[in-house]
């Protein structure tokens, strides 16, 4: 085995050199002999989801001498990917819950606290617990927050009655329990959000999983999707899959066909649309979205409610030494997905390490794959490869696209199998 061809091994070797292991001092290149972690720099990552956890792990991978702190209030992370399977009774919460033990083993200093404020001039972060951290660079990966008050009757308080379940955890269980408790001939209404939002195929995978649950336990129940858009991700494949698996159980109403919600009465479980009132037994109101609140507080957002970033490095175009990745960043045409966020995490880590070393940044490729389960044995996917060309992220035209229409059951079964495998692999990559 040729060890020197392997980047990881080479870095381990460099660490040994830096530590002065078995090396005559005259052989040490200058700067190596006294490179303690403080000298290499301190990177703080805020947010321990797919983006932040990936960034923290790859920062340590690319330069083990960096001091990396990850700030995340939750002791363990529950992923949105997989949460629809929990709602449909096909997975347990334990399957989609991940600890930060491995991050610590990988050398990341994990701090479970909430960021109270960030002084981007003095480059310090104040935590709710009172601690103040300095940084050389900060990576912000705060995910999404909701735009309430966009329709009559909607406010944060209704989430306990009409759960969004668009941040996984308590909300996921609440929606699952409401589905389980609904009458056998009940009606489940989903209000699907307008663009841009986290996980474009997510509402439609959820509809599939709800229909799957109904077909087993609520034979006469129905599902109505009131969409705030006129088209959606993998639409033809979802429509075909719904027909093949669930007949006419799922009714999708586009915005232009009267799906546009203008009000909600959470107590009476009524959604008011331009078409009239829809009354349900369960209402899954998924509000319009914006970057996580911290991004707004730090001055990282523009009028769109999301964060403009340099498309090559993910450096904020508005605040120095701050990088924004994941759902909060504007990285169109990449979808706001866990896979995209993990991809951003690697690229931001590489470019921070290169910048700190005084090297040129790399215009790297981004990759995304979004799998969706229409049924436990019926999966579909959309994939894309992106180049960064002249300062913008561009999809490689020849690549990407969705699963074939009219595929065999065997192919759908294979993709269902890969859906679960993708989940297992990427969560191990990010939290393992």
């Amino acid at each position: 085995m040729n060890v020197l061809n392997s980047g990881l091994k080479r870095r381990e070797l460099l660490k040994l050199i830096a530590a002065g292991a078995a090396v005559p001092s005259a052989m040490l290149a200058s700067g190596c002999s006294d490179s303690g972690s403080k000298k290499a720099g301190h990177i703080v990552v805020i947010g321990g989801g797919f983006g932040g956890s990936s960034a923290a792990k790859y920062l340590k991978r690319y330069n083990p001498d960096l001091a990396v702190t990850l700030i995340e209030p939750k002791k363990s992370y529950i992923t949105c990917p997989g949460s629809n399977w929990v709602i449909g009774g096909e997975a347990e919460m334990t399957t989609i819950t991940h600890s930060y033990d491995a991050a610590r083993k990988n050398g990341v200093d994990v701090v479970h606290d909430l960021v109270q404020s960030v002084d981007t001039t003095g480059k310090t972060i104040k935590l709710a617990g009172g601690e103040v951290l300095g940084y050389d660079k900060v990576v912000v990966s705060p995910g999404i927050d909701f735009k309430w008050n966009e329709i009559e009757g909607a406010d944060p308080g209704i989430a306990t009655k009409t759960p969004h379940a668009w941040k996984a955890g308590e909300q996921t269980l609440l929606l699952r329990d409401q589905l389980q408790a609904m009458p056998e001939d009940g009606t489940f209404i989903m209000v699907a959000p307008p663009n841009p939002f986290r996980c474009p195929p997510g509402p439609y995978e959820r509809a599939s999983m709800v229909a799957h649950y109904m077909s087993k336990h609520k034979p006469n129940a129905e599902l109505i999707i009131l969409d705030q858009k006129n088209k959606f991700s993998k639409q033809a494949l979802f429509m075909q899959g719904w027909e093949e698996n669930y007949g006419a159980r799922i009714q999708w109403i586009a915005k232009m066909d009267g799906g546009e919600a203008v009000g909600i009465d959470a107590d009476r479980k009524v959604v008011e649309t331009t078409f009239g009132n829809f009354e349900g037994d369960v209402i899954n109101y998924i509000p319009p979205q914006k970057a996580g609140q911290l991004a707004h507080d730090m001055g990282l957002t523009d009028d769109s409610g999301f964060c403009p970033v340099d498309q090559k490095t993910f450096a904020s175009t508005q605040v120095a030494d701050v990088y924004v990745i994941g759902d909060a960043a504007i990285a169109s045409p990449m979808p706001k997905s866990g896979h995209s966020a993990a991809s951003h995490g690697k690229i931001v880590a590489a470019n921070i390490v290169l910048t700190m070393a005084g090297e040129e940044t790399i215009a790297a490729k981004n990759v995304n794959t979004c799998y969706s389960l229409i049924a436990p044995d019926y999966g579909i996917s959309v994939a894309a490869v992106y180049n960064t060309v002249n300062g913008s992220i561009e999809e490689v035209d020849a690549a990407g696209g969705v699963s074939k229409m009219d595929a065999t059951r065997r192919e759908r079964e294979l993709e269902a199998n890969y859906t679960r495998g993708w989940y297992r692999s990427i969560t191990d990559e990010v939290w393992g």
Partner: protein, 103 residues
């Protein structure tokens, strides 16, 4: 053999010094890292994985299969859609990084 012992007995340090001038992250590593999300971190398998790990494949096989997917000679579910996004050079670089060395 431990790394320290290996260094001491092989004198590899002399040979390794020139690599210190290399970039801390190579293009090949960054390209290969994209594969990890589905094919396992460092291309290694994990319990419950269903997508083939790549670390034990020779680099030459990764190159030939990526090109076969890309050029329509091998069918697959998602891989043809990914492979079409890569140039010959990119395929070589990622395969050399992720695959078994020297094969």
């Amino acid at each position: 053999m431990s790394w320290k012992a290996w260094i001491a007995t092989t004198g590899v340090l002399m040979a390794s010094l020139p690599v210190m001038a290399e970039k801390p992250v190579s293009k090949g590593e960054l390209l290969a890292n994209s594969c990890f999300s589905c094919h396992g971190y460092d291309g290694k398998t994990v319990e419950g994985a269903t997508i083939p790990p790549l670390a034990d494949y020779p680099a030459s096989m990764i190159v030939s299969q990526m090109k076969a997917y890309r050029d329509g000679e091998r069918d697959g579910t998602v891989m043809p859609r990914h492979a079409r996004g890569y140039t010959d050079e990119e395929i070589e670089l990622l395969a050399q990084y992720i695959g078994k060395q020297g094969q």
